[in-house]
Symmetry: C2
Subunit: 398 residues, 2 copies
């Protein structure tokens, strides 16, 4: 009966046609890791090939004049419009999420020189914690930790004070999938004069983000998850326009300078969001990312979110039925969860290799979690069911 | 007569066959900018396409287990062997040259905590100077500037002292092409207890580097020039094995940590050179770079240097004959110059657009320089002549 339901859901899915735009993986029965690495769209591969064989090979250095030099900003604007709810001129692409987060945190601290506390969550993704630990040590700042569990406005409020410089949190938690209330937490931080940096890695492309409306100061995010930019594709950084004149980041490089080709003495930060750049970004990766972002725009982030809710709802329903011993680590209330679902079971680690062998590919997160990353444009309801049935089968054989 | 000489030189060139491995650019008469952006090898495009359509699209997240996770180090070792004269385990690929230089300088300063001076050259590439200016400002260090002109051991010695923490210089100057005496300057720095960081961007892949033998501490370099890794391809960093246990860099990210997938509390630096990593590197770019590095290895860096000398010798001879009013900004002594030649003339800026239109593509460097980057594996002697003849023609029409 659930099987029929999956087919019914697929038949009624207004975004179903997008699946065919992704490159097929014949040995994959269920790809449930779209929040670790999104599948490639054919248009991205085409752009990559075209970029390599034409822009690089034929136009050569002239391609910098043909648009490469502006690409970190023009592509940033496309991401901003498709997925961030941000006006142009505030988003740039380049570097890894880790490096951009480092630059953003350092830049935010410099905007609050008389404050010495950073708020961070114990459950946040390791890179976020590690970056902050490093910066706290080098700048003599103190980390105030939100304890394990949901990042609620109350949990943040309990740590906020006149010493708080920056609140650095993830919009959607990488493990549980819980959504933080960005506008509420941002407002609380602003009430005490602090800034916020939101890591959007697990929400961008799957959840409607409204950075401008939410009054966010700074943000970073990953482009290789729901944005499907490719393995290690460069991340993006957002700086609200009100901070752009004043903001300075520590890795001063020529491409972030005022006149890169003047090559003159003395660094002067470049205009607007360009100043967040440092060195030369990996252009071919940006070219592959572009059409993937445009595909998100075409599908529409609201429709993507609707399907995301339906997919996670379906996954939870199937888990309730087929994996009664697994514990749902993700909020059951759809309004409180993002695009992935994590289930815990002591035997999950043991069955992971068998799942991967049979082409059922979720992710494993220690100590006992299977994480199902359901990328809305590339995942079918039937696929979710095949995956969860496979998990149930393997579990029954442990 | 010079025309015949070009053909004779091409006919006798033992590396001539490598040219056919690069993708043709039909409208390009003479590509003389291989030190800004190397041309693509067909094997690199093949690796890029294969990486996208198989490793990314088919293997998906499983590719991390198939070798991606080790790729920054395994590829680093290939570069080390092909072009750096460095034993395995000391070189890693990831981030841009600018970001890696930032990490290296910060790491080196931390190894000399009781010292507060950095030596840098006025003529160095802007990113190097800008990175150092930023770090000096944030760490309260003082920059000691080598004045305009050659970076000689004497010029460095004049600034070295017990306060010198790190000497940060380019092996081959981006504008003049002059070679710095790495072993001599490194030894002088060591004599006063300072460390060296060499930027190899304009030498790697064109000049035989011996980092281990020269007793270099740290190095960075660009992979999209003579290594032909593609536009914005990630850079590499070298840390001598004697420093690896102690070295710490400021951008603490999960991929540089001891157990990336444990995702535990508290950053611990990863084993060996991995600790220089921060976030996820752009994998497709690394895949394209790999076979390009292997091609350098196959050609052999000594043979590449021989051709490089012959190409620059040819360019200087042609310039003497055809561009008598241009001033050679590059050392005439082949032992003192790298793989590019810069000529100055007040009318060069005016003719650049015309040269590019006719498919003759050198680079322009302010205020009056035309820079000829003669990538040994992809440049013919006839191409050098065509380019210089075109420059002479355009100059005669100003």
């Amino acid at each position: 009966m659930t099987g029929m339901q999956s087919n019914t859901l697929d038949a009624a899915d207004p975004l179903a046609a997008f699946r065919a735009r992704f490159i097929e993986a014949p040995d994959v029965v269920a790809y449930l890791d779209g929040n670790s690495l999104g599948r490639p769209l054919q248009v991205s591969i085409d752009a990559l090939t075209e970029g390599a064989t034409t822009a690089w090979a034929q136009r050569l250095i002239r391609s910098w004049d043909d648009g490469w030099i502006e690409l970190p900003v023009t592509l940033g604007d496309r991401i901003a419009e498709a997925a961030l709810g941000a006006a142009p001129g505030q988003t740039v692409v380049g570097d890894s999420t880790t490096v951009l987060l480092y630059k953003q945190v350092r830049a935010a601290l410099a905007l609050r020189p008389d404050r010495d506390e950073l708020i961070v969550a114990v459950d946040d993704f390791p890179t976020d914690r590690y970056v902050l630990e490093g910066i706290a040590a080098e700048r003599g700042a103190t980390l105030r930790w939100i304890p394990s569990g949901d990042v609620s406005p109350d949990a943040v409020a309990a740590l906020l004070g006149t010493r708080t410089a920056v609140v650095v949190l993830s919009h959607i938690a990488y493990r549980s999938g819980a959504i933080a209330d960005v506008p509420a937490i941002t407002a609380l931080a602003h009430d005490v004069g602090a800034l916020v940096i939101w890591d959007l890695s697990h929400s961008v492309g799957a959840f409607p983000i409204q950075l401008d409306e939410w009054d966010v100061d700074l943000a970073v995010g990953c482009s290789y998850k729901y944005l499907c930019g490719g393995p290690g594709a460069p991340a993006f950084a957002y700086v609200a326009s009100r901070h752009l004149d004043e903001i300075r980041q520590p890795i001063q490089g020529w491409l972030g300078g005022a006149e890169p080709f003047a090559m003159g003495p003395g660094y002067r930060p470049g205009p607007g969001i360009r100043r967040m750049l440092s060195g030369t970004p990996p252009i071919l990766s940006l070219l592959a990312l572009g059409p993937a972002v445009d595909t998100v725009a075409e599908a529409g982030i609201e429709r993507i979110r609707e399907k995301s809710i339906a997919l996670t709802e379906h996954a939870i329903g199937l888990a309730d039925e087929l994996l009664p011993d697994a514990i749902l680590a993700t909020p059951r209330d759809a309004r409180r969860r993002g695009g992935h679902v994590t289930l815990d079971h002591p035997d999950f680690e043991a069955i992971m290799p068998k799942l991967w062998e049979r082409g059922v590919i979720p992710d494993f997160r220690r100590p006992t979690g299977i994480r199902l990353g359901l990328s809305p444009l590339s995942t079918s309801f039937a696929e979710v069911e095949s995956g969860i049935r496979a998990i149930a089968e393997e579990l029954s054989e442990v």
